[in-house]
């Protein structure tokens, strides 16, 4: 089997439960269909048996209404919150077979700093707003072991230039920036150590249309130039249509449909996907 056929990121049976869980909801089949809520203990299964593959250079879309578990999924992958069960492997990490959820905290930090980049919907989570933009990028570079101020600054300048932030504003805090600029600083921070995987959580939500278009252009360019694999979470089918080769549709924690983006948008199979697509039109 060639390298091309091997997924860069393979997620299997990922479960994320909020709440204690009980005998009933430990077996997700017992949950009433169309609900992620356990009627016995009140726990919520935000991600219910999610499996997917992400290949090098591919953009995979995850679409669904709010509360469907999209953000819980990417946050679990970025180790922001621990998963309940399931596995994920990265082909370039330790030659592949290790479940990254079971790694030590130090190793998880290594993965976060070297193999993954994350862009949050809210830049206030992803950025240190009162530190300079250059400093935000420096934090990632320092975490990867770069201790030369001149080298850090030239790399930060390159990255900011790449996302069209004027270098004259490099030493300014992102708190003073517009929403679109903050989002672009966040992207440049996520790209600082050239991670092979980028997680984008609703990056264009709340931005006006022209700014949205520039951020989307940027994402496309990054994918083209670096062959970065990306997971794009959005409730906006327009964004998904523009960016993604393949798409996963989530509803109430479950993956209800997966396939080529065109196919899903043109010929939705599941009633919920049909509803979603028709709402767009």
């Amino acid at each position: 089997m060639g390298n091309e056929d091997r997924p860069l990121l393979a997620v299997r049976h990922l479960m994320k439960r909020f709440g204690k869980g009980c005998a009933t909801c430990r077996n997700p089949q017992n949950l009433p269909s169309g609900s992620s809520h356990c009627p016995h203990c009140g726990s919520v299964l935000a991600c219910n048996d999610i499996s997917f593959d992400l290949y090098e250079g591919e953009i995979l879309g995850i679409v669904g209404e709010s509360g469907s578990g999209k953000s819980s999924l990417v946050q679990s992958l970025y180790f922001d919150s621990p998963v309940t069960s399931g596995s994920a492997t990265i082909a370039t990490y330790n030659k592949g077979p290790r479940n990254i959820f079971l790694e030590s905290a130090q190793q998880k930090r290594y993965i976060r700093n070297h193999l993954m980049g994350m862009v949050y919907q809210n830049p206030w989570i992803g950025l240190k707003m009162n530190f300079s933009s250059g400093g935000n990028i420096a934090e990632k570079l320092i975490a990867a072991g770069d201790f030369n101020v001149r080298a850090i600054r030239s790399r930060a300048a390159d990255l900011l230039d790449h996302v069209e932030i004027p270098i004259t504003r490099m030493d300014e805090a992102p708190a003073h920036f517009s929403g679109g600029m903050q989002q672009r600083v966040q992207i440049s921070k996520a790209l600082a150590n050239k991670p092979p995987i980028l997680l984008l959580d609703e990056v264009t939500t709340g931005l006006d249309l022209s700014v949205q278009a520039r951020v989307l252009d940027l994402i496309r360019r990054i994918q083209r130039e670096n062959r970065t694999a990306m997971l794009v979470v959005s409730h906006d089918l327009g964004v998904i249509r523009m960016l993604c080769d393949r798409t996963l549709v989530m509803k109430q924690g479950r993956c209800i449909e997966a396939g080529l983006t065109d196919q899903i948008l043109e010929d939705p199979q599941h009633t919920y996907t049909q509803l979603l697509v028709h709402s767009l039109l």
């Binding site: 905290a105 250059g134 420096a138 934090e139 030493d171």
Partner: protein, 289 residues
Amino acid sequence: MAMHTPLKQTYNYAFLDEGSKKEIRRATLKAVAIPGYQVPFASREMPIGRGWGTGGLQLTLSLIGDGDTLKVIDQGNDDSVNAVSIKKLVQACTNVAVTTDAEQATLIQSRHRIPEVPIRADQILVFQVPIPEPLRFVEPKEKKSKHLHAEMDYSGIWLRLYEDIVKWGKISIGADYPALAHKRYIFAPSPIPRYDLPKLHQAEGLFLFGAGREKKIYAIPPYTDVEPLAFDDYPFEVEHFEGCSCRLCGSTDSFLDELYDEAAGQTFYQCSDTGYCRKCRERGAQHGK
């Protein structure tokens, strides 16, 4: 009716009860075993207020015994109120001798200075520490800063140094300059001047740090690497005093305090380490003047 005799108050040797001393020494041993790691301990109530050197005092009292000679320094000074009070307390409940000569002391408790004469293998220097956590200013939560230490995730404090360079062109931390102990834990050397920090590196003596209010003990054992945090192109620098000399002993190679005489409108310099200054003067007097 029984005779009413005034109660004679007696304390255990060195004030603390033996159980407490043992607990403090146990924490100290752990601290010595893991250079720079902050070991929690049950800080006792002391007859001086927290924040006035209770951490250092507890270390001193847990270690002191007959045959020891104690020196107490406050910002280099042997005669300041704090140093004198601590010395009096220790003398009141032990029978150790006190000295102002750093070379004669076996145990030195210090606030914010390291004596000019290097500490020997048979000496222990105890520091009083106000804030033992070097990450406190970048991470206010204790639980999180413990995680950062455990995972050796120090990018936050490095980022602070980077921002300093961006803003001021240099690192603006004066005293209490963070350093890496034996390539593992970043520690706060207590507010000693940068000038004193290299004295901890690969030193002969044992350095103990006690924070009474924050209930932490940590240590730099002999022959430990102590590297001040610095970027490759912005190296660590100590304070220097070119062209200045002590007005009392004439010394040019010691840490000098700047003093201002308002009446005369004059600035002059004086050794911060008073014990060292006195010895220099005595030596000068002997060698004929």
